[in-house]
């Protein structure tokens, strides 16, 4: 299972990459494997102000719809439109081209409270 070192993780299987006071958010490799073939992504609204833990978008596989929760608070500034045409990017490249949205960090300290790669790996390990 791929758990990149440069990211922080939410227990609900989202990741965030912090760069220049902003964050890029997606779902983890584990999440995409559990979801199976993603066939539709309902992207968040640009400009939406969200609080950490709030449901911001929905990812749908053939079998089920899954809510995605934002790991941090802030304003959504950009969404990955490529996912509308090619939702399978979430399966093929969850940490790269399958990113979902970018967000300003209104409470940057929240990032440090998220799981480290090691803690997230532990979470995955204990689930099995």
């Amino acid at each position: 299972m791929n758990v990149p070192e440069d990211l922080r993780y939410a227990a609900s299987h989202e990741w965030i990459r912090q760069e220049n006071g902003a964050g890029t958010v997606g779902i983890t490799d584990h999440a995409q494997q559990e979801l199976t073939d993603v066939v539709f992504v309902e992207l968040p609204k640009i400009g939406a102000q969200v609080k950490a833990g709030q449901q911001v978008c929905v990812v749908e596989s053939v079998k089920a719809a899954s809510d995605i929760y934002t790991p941090t608070s802030g304003t959504i500034t950009e969404v990955n439109d490529a996912l509308s045409a090619n939702p399978a990017l979430l399966n093929t490249d969850p940490f790269g081209d399958g990113w979902i949205y970018r967000i300003t960090l209104s409470a940057p300290e929240e990032v440090a409270q998220l799981k480290t790669p090691e803690q997230y790996r532990e979470q995955l390990g204990s689930a099995h």
Partner: protein, 369 residues
Amino acid sequence: MSNLPPLKQTPLHDEHIRLGAKMVDFGGWSMPVQYTGILDEHRAVRTNLGVFDISHMGQFFVSGPDAGTWLNCLLTNNVDRLSIGECQYTFLLNEKGGVIDDLIVYRIEESRYLLVVNAAKIEEDFAWMHAHLREGAHLENQSDHMAGLAVQGPKAAQLFDAFFGGSHSRPARNEILTIPIDGELYYVARTGYTGEDGFEVFCPADRAVKSWTDILERGASFEIKPCGLGARDTLRLEVCYPLNGSDLSPETTPIEAGLTLFVDLQKPEFIGRARLLQQREEGVTRRLVPFKMLVKSPPPRAHYGVFKGGVRIAETTSGTLSPSLNVGIGLAYIPTAYARIGEEIQIEIRGQQYPAVIEKRPLLRPNAK
């Protein structure tokens, strides 16, 4: 959680685990929902070949001098129309004409029939049939002793020939062969639940693993893939085959489901007949119809609201993204006034309405023979 009985396993359970299947609870059975992926497996069946474990399904044998007469009093279709080696799709109804189960009845001998019923309904079907048993008919439940494999896809006939070429000619569509192999009887039927050409094989449970591995080995040159319940559902929905418990229930009749082809109202008597006759004369208030989304939308799923002119008129009974058509599809019982091909409706998905159109069935017509 701890009060739930353990999930039942088919004889192929260890094979599924070995192949890396994702297992789910399906009506009390631990079954593979997918191996490599639903889309991948769906495509395999539409273009080449797939093999499904259907050992969870039930097998009843009905025999005796009055077997046919008795079955005709319980089932909607007419078993007298079957020659030996033929089968038909049929319904077991309650007194109100509601569906207890949909099943296939195969006439395997002059006075011996094989009934293949839904996994979740084995006990209920058996209890119902047993309660209505008559002299001259014998009913046995062989479900625990038999396994089932469905080989489906346009290359199914080639695989059959690779197995039996020379010794047996292929059964025709809706026919069944009884083939002795190493001292045991195998039933090989030209039936399936995908709309593709294909075979369903029923054999003793202790032969399941060998049959499964043989089929995968011999099928390798036809690019066969093991397929799970996920693909089984998208495949059947594209060709509008109903799923009992979703599209059929004790509250819906075959007439409402648009499946009158499998009901013989000329028969003098069968349970539920009076209600069906009444519906045929008075008309039904709703009909099960397939629909297709008109725009890109989240996949429709079961129990989503169906709207017309802002008014909620129904709810979906099944829905999915069609991997072949790449658009959302589904089934719903629509009030008769709107249950017309070409009628535009709206499906509510998470509070937003998306346009859809009622289509004729099947939504997809594969190149099945």
